[in-house]
C-alpha cells in the first residue's frame, strides 16, 4: 500500500459524489495537528491489517440479543 498524500484525497472528493472539503481539512488527515483524529495513514495501515483477518461469513453487527448462561 502506497503512502497516502493530500492530492489523492482531493481527487477522491472532487471526482466522486462527496461533500466539499477545504484543503486544510484534507491536509489534517495526512498531517494531523488537532490531536483528536488518528492520522489517516495510521488508520489505513490498521485497516489493511484487518483486511487480512478471515471473518468467514460473519455478518455486520446489528441489534443485540440476550445470551443465556449455558
Amino acid at each position: 500500500m502506497d503512502k497516502l498524500d493530500a492530492h489523492t484525497l482531493q481527487a477522491l472528493c472532487s471526482q466522486l459524489a462527496a461533500h466539499q472539503w477545504e484543503e486544510e481539512e484534507l491536509n489534517e488527515l495526512v498531517d494531523p495537528k488537532l490531536g483528536i483524529i488518528t492520522g489517516f495513514q495510521e488508520l489505513l495501515e490498521e485497516l489493511e491489517v484487518l483486511r487480512h483477518v478471515d471473518l468467514e461469513f460473519t455478518a455486520p453487527a446489528q441489534s443485540v440479543q440476550r445470551k443465556r448462561k449455558v
Binding site: 488537532l34 490531536g35 488508520l43 441489534s63
Partner: protein, 469 residues
C-alpha cells in the same frame, strides 16, 4: 435540610424529604436548584440553557399530586442532544443554534410522566464528538474537584451539573465512554445500559451503531430508579429492544446476591499502562467482591490492538451521514476538529466500514463466550484521572498517548459489544481527584451490574467536592 445537604442529596433522599414535608413542595425544591444553578453555572459551565420558566410551570402542576408518581418534583437536566418540547436543542454547536424541538425525546417524556422536572439543557463536546468536553461556543465544563481540570466528556455538562450539586441526576449519551468517563472523573455513578435497552428517539445521533443513552447519578440506587423509569421498548426507535425489564430496585434489596456471582478480571490491556493508584484501588475493589463471597477469576477478552481503529471506522462515516443534511448550508459553522473528523468519514471506503461492523460482531461473539464463564467483568473505568483543561497528551510508563485515546481506552470496547457497563467511584487519587471502577455485565442483565455496583459503593465512599459555592 441545609443548602449543601440538599444540593448533594440522592434522589431517594429528596423523594423522602418531599414525602415527609422536610422539603415543603416541588416548587420550593425547583426554586432551590434553579437559584443554585444560575449562581454556579457562571463558573462551571454545566448548562447551555436553564429553562427556569418551564421548570417552575411543571413543578406547580405537581403541587397537588401526592405520591402518585415516583419522581414527583425531582429535578434533572439533559445533555443538549435530547429534545425537550419548545426548547432549543443545540448539540453544543452553532450549527443548531436555532433548532427548537417540537416534541420531547422518549426518555424525557417518560421522566416527565414520572414527575421529574427538567431544569434545562446541558453542555457537551460539540455534537458529542470528543471526550474532553471542551466547547468553544458554550464554554468548557470544569471538574468539581479541581476547576483547572476537565469534567470529562462528551457528557461534560451532565457530570458537572450533578457534581456541582445543580441537579440530583442527569442524562447523557455514551458512544465510546461519554457517560462513564465524565462520571468517573467527577466522582459519580455512570450507567450505560445494554444497546437497545433505552430508546434514543428524539436524541440527535452521533453514531447509530455505538450510541447509548446514559445516566449520571450520585448513587447506584438512583441509577436503578432512573433506569426503571426510562428503559423499555419504544416503537419510535428501530434499535429499541422488547426484552422484558427486570425490577432493578427489588434486585438491590436482595441481600447476599453478590455471593452467587462469578466475576472475571481481564488483566491484559485493561490493567496495563495506567496510573498506579487507579490500578491499586481497582485491586481493592476486586478484594471487596471476594469479601462479599463472589468468585473472582482472570479472563481473556479479544485482542484490543485494533479496537480504536474499528470504532473510528464505524463512527466517522455514520457521523458524516448524520451531518450531511447540514454540511452544504451550515458547514462553516462547525468547529474545525469536527470537520476534519467528518472529512475522514468521507475518505473511508465502504468495505472499511462494513469490515469494521463485522469486527464488531466478532468482538461480541468473543465477549459473549467469556460471559458463558463469568457473570460480570471488572476493570478500571479510565487509565488516568481527569486531565487539565487544554492538555493534549499524556505519558504513562513511557508511553505517549493523545488524551482522547487514553481516556476511552477501557470504555469504548463495550460500546461496540453493547454490553451494559457501570462506573462507580472507587476512591480519591493523591491529587484529590476521583477514580472509578467499571463493572460490565451480560446483555440486559443490568440488575447484576447494579448489585455489584452497590456492593462497591457501600465500601468505597468518596468525599463531596469542596469548591466554594
Amino acid at each position: 435540610m441545609r443548602e449543601e445537604e440538599l444540593a448533594f442529596a440522592s434522589i431517594n433522599a429528596l423523594c423522602a424529604g418531599l414525602a415527609s414535608g422536610d422539603i415543603s413542595s416541588p416548587v420550593a425544591l425547583t426554586q432551590f436548584f434553579l437559584e443554585r444553578s444560575k449562581r454556579l453555572n457562571v463558573d462551571c459551565h454545566a448548562f447551555i440553557e436553564i429553562t427556569e420558566h418551564n421548570a417552575l410551570r411543571d413543578a406547580k402542576r405537581l403541587e397537588n399530586m401526592r405520591d402518585a408518581v415516583p419522581l414527583r418534583g425531582i429535578p434533572f437536566a439533559s445533555k443538549d442532544l435530547f429534545d425537550v418540547e419548545g426548547v432549543k436543542t443545540t448539540a453544543g454547536s452553532r450549527v443548531l443554534a436555532d433548532n427548537t424541538a417540537s416534541a420531547d425525546a422518549t426518555v424525557i417524556k417518560r421522566l416527565r410522566n414520572a414527575g421529574a422536572v427538567n431544569h434545562g439543557k446541558l453542555n457537551l463536546h460539540e455534537f458529542a464528538y470528543g471526550i474532553t468536553g471542551e466547547n468553544v461556543v458554550y464554554g468548557t465544563p470544569v471538574n468539581a474537584y479541581d476547576k483547572s481540570r476537565l469534567a470529562g466528556g462528551s457528557s461534560s455538562g451532565s457530570a458537572a451539573a450533578v457534581a456541582f450539586g445543580l441537579v440530583p441526576f442527569a442524562l447523557g449519551t455514551d458512544t465510546g465512554g461519554s457517560t462513564r468517563v465524565p462520571a468517573a472523573f467527577s466522582g459519580l455513578v455512570g450507567l450505560k445500559p445494554t444497546f437497545g435497552r433505552v430508546s434514543r428517539s428524539g436524541i440527535i445521533p452521533y453514531s447509530w451503531s455505538l450510541d447509548h443513552v446514559g445516566t449520571i447519578t450520585r448513587t447506584v440506587a438512583d441509577a436503578a430508579l432512573i433506569l426503571q423509569t426510562i428503559a423499555g421498548e419504544d416503537k419510535n426507535d428501530p434499535d429499541s429492544s422488547n426484552e422484558p425489564l427486570d425490577d432493578y430496585l427489588a434486585a438491590l434489596e436482595q441481600p447476599g446476591n453478590l455471593s452467587k456471582l462469578k466475576i472475571g478480571v481481564p488483566r491484559a490491556f485493561f490493567f496495563e499502562n495506567a496510573d498506579s493508584e487507579i490500578l491499586a484501588v481497582t485491586e481493592l475493589a476486586i478484594d471487596n467482591f471476594r469479601a462479599h463471597g463472589a468468585q473472582v477469576v482472570d479472563v481473556e477478552l479479544p485482542k484490543m490492538e485494533h479496537t480504536r481503529a474499528v470504532s473510528l471506522t464505524v463512527q466517522m462515516p455514520e457521523a458524516l451521514s448524520v451531518h450531511s443534511r447540514y454540511l452544504k448550508d451550515r458547514g462553516h459553522l462547525y468547529s474545525c476538529d469536527f470537520r476534519a473528523g467528518l472529512a475522514l468519514g468521507q475518505c473511508l471506503l465502504a468495505e472499511h466500514y462494513i469490515r469494521a461492523k463485522r469486527m464488531m460482531t466478532r468482538y461480541r461473539q468473543q465477549t459473549n463466550a467469556v460471559f458463558e464463564k463469568v457473570d460480570l467483568l471488572i476493570t478500571p473505568t479510565t487509565p488516568i484521572i481527569a486531565p487539565r483543561i487544554g492538555q493534549r497528551r499524556i505519558t504513562i510508563d513511557n508511553n505517549d498517548e493523545a488524551i482522547g485515546n487514553a481516556v476511552t481506552r477501557y470504555t469504548s470496547f463495550f460500546n461496540m459489544t453493547g454490553h451494559p457497563a457501570l462506573t462507580v467511584p472507587s476512591g480519591l487519587h493523591s491529587l484529590g481527584l476521583p477514580m472509578g471502577v467499571q463493572i460490565i455485565g451480560r446483555y440486559y442483565e443490568e440488575a447484576e451490574v447494579l448489585i455489584a455496583g452497590l456492593a462497591l459503593e457501600e465500601n468505597f465512599q468518596i468525599p463531596k467536592p469542596s469548591f466554594h459555592a
